[in-house]
Amino acid sequence: VSVFPLAAVSLQTRVFGAALGLALVVLLVELVRRRRLQERYTVAWSLAAATLLSVSLFPQLLELFASLLGVSDTTDAFLALALLCCFGLVLVLTVVVSRLAAETTRLAQELALERAWRRERERTCAGQEASE
C-alpha cells in the first residue's frame, strides 16, 4: 500500500514494547486486587495495554498503521500510536473529572439546602418556645 520503503521494527523495540504491555497488565490486576483502582477504569487502560502488546507481537500491524499514516519509519508510527493511547486515556479522565465535579457540586448544594432547612426549623422552634 505504502509509497515509502518501510524500516522494520527492531527486535529490541518489540521486546521492550511487549514487556511494557505485560507490566501494565500485571500492574492493572494488582491495583484492582488491592482495591486501588475501580474495575470500570481498567477498560481504557486494558485497551492501551492491548495496543502495545499487539503491535509488539505483530509488527505487521505497526507497518500497516505507518502506511495508513503516511510515515516511512515504523518507530514514528509507534510513537504516534503511544501518543494516541495517552490522548484516549486523558480524555477518559476528563470525562470522569467532569462527572465528579457535577456530583460534588450537587452534594455541596444538597448540604447547603439541608443546613438552611435545619436552621429555619431551629428558628421556628425557638420562636415557639419564646412565645410559650
Binding site: A108, Q109, L111, R115, R119
Partner: protein
C-alpha cells in the same frame, strides 16, 4: 392586590459590603407582598453568609465556591422544595434596583410569561430616564461579545434577545421546575435561555435600569470573558444539534 407567595434569592460571592443594603432595599420594596428572601452564599470568605443571617433572611451556604450557576441552581431547588410558585433573582451587589425586580415579577404574577429577563439594552428610553450619570454602558469588548451572542441566540431560537447575559430574572413554577432539574454551571445565563425557549416556555424581556456598582469590583476579567465566549459558543453549537437533551439532568 394580594400577590402569591414568592421567593427572591440573591446569589452572592463575597458581597458583605453591599448585601445588607440590597436586602434592605428589597424588604422596603416588597414590604406589603408575601415575599421571602434567600441568600445563596457561594462559599464567600468575607462573612457574606453571616451578614445575611444577621439580617434575618434564609441562607443557603456552600462549603466552598461553586460558581454562579450552582448558586442560582440552588435557589431554584430551594424555591421548588419549599413550594414557591414564583421566584426572582438578581445580583447581590445592589446593581439591580428592587423596583426593577418588581416590574419583572408583575409579568409572571399576571401570567404573561413563564420566565422574564431584565434587559439593560431593550429600551434606550429606560436607560435615559435613569438619574444623570448613572446610565449603564458596557465596555467595547463586552459590547462585541454581547452582539455576537445576541445574534447567535436569536438565530437559534428565532427571536431576539437584547440582553443574553442578564442576571435579573423572574420565573413561575414551570420555569422553576425546569431550572431545578438542570441549570448550567459556568456561565449559565445564555444556556438557560436556550433551555427555556427550547422547551417551549414563554420567555419575555423587560427593560430594566441598572446602577453602577457601589462596592467591590466586577468579577469579570479578560480571561474569564474569553472563557465565557468559548464556553457559550460551544454550548450554543451543541445546543443546535438534533437530539440534544435540553431538559436532561447533569
Amino acid at each position: 392586590v394580594s400577590r402569591p407567595r414568592t421567593l427572591i434569592f440573591l446569589p452572592a460571592w463575597n458581597e458583605r459590603e453591599s448585601l445588607p443594603g440590597t436586602l434592605q432595599e428589597l424588604r422596603a420594596e416588597f414590604a406589603h407582598d408575601r415575599v421571602d428572601l434567600l441568600v445563596c452564599d457561594d462559599g464567600s470568605t468575607d462573612g457574606t453568609g453571616e451578614a445575611a443571617l444577621a439580617a434575618g433572611v434564609a441562607v443557603v451556604d456552600f462549603p466552598f465556591h461553586l460558581g454562579i450557576g450552582a448558586a442560582v441552581h440552588a435557589g431554584y431547588l430551594y424555591a421548588q422544595r419549599h413550594g414557591y410558585r414564583f421566584c426572582a433573582h438578581c445580583d447581590a451587589d445592589g446593581q439591580h434596583p428592587a423596583r426593577e425586580l418588581r416590574k419583572l415579577l408583575e409579568v409572571v404574577w399576571d401570567d404573561r410569561a413563564d420566565l422574564v429577563v431584565g434587559s439593560r439594552y431593550l429600551e434606550r428610553a429606560t436607560n435615559a430616564s435613569a438619574p444623570a450619570g448613572e446610565r449603564y454602558r458596557a465596555s467595547f469588548p463586552r459590547r462585541i461579545g454581547i452582539a455576537l451572542f445576541r445574534a447567535l441566540l436569536s438565530w437559534q431560537t428565532g427571536r431576539v434577545f437584547t440582553d443574553t447575559t442578564s442576571g435579573i430574572r423572574a420565573a413561575n413554577e414551570r420555569a422553576i421546575a425546569l431550572f431545578a432539574r438542570r441549570y448550567a454551571s459556568d456561565y449559565p445565563e445564555l444556556e438557560s435561555l436556550q433551555q427555556a425557549v427550547g422547551l417551549g416556555l414563554r420567555v419575555e424581556e423587560v427593560a430594566v435600569w441598572v446602577r453602577p456598582r457601589t462596592h467591590g469590583r466586577s468579577k469579570i476579567t479578560l480571561l474569564r470573558s474569553a472563557h465565557f465566549v468559548w464556553k457559550s459558543l460551544f454550548a450554543i453549537l451543541v445546543g443546535l444539534l438534533p437530539g440534544y437533551r435540553q431538559g436532561a439532568g447533569p
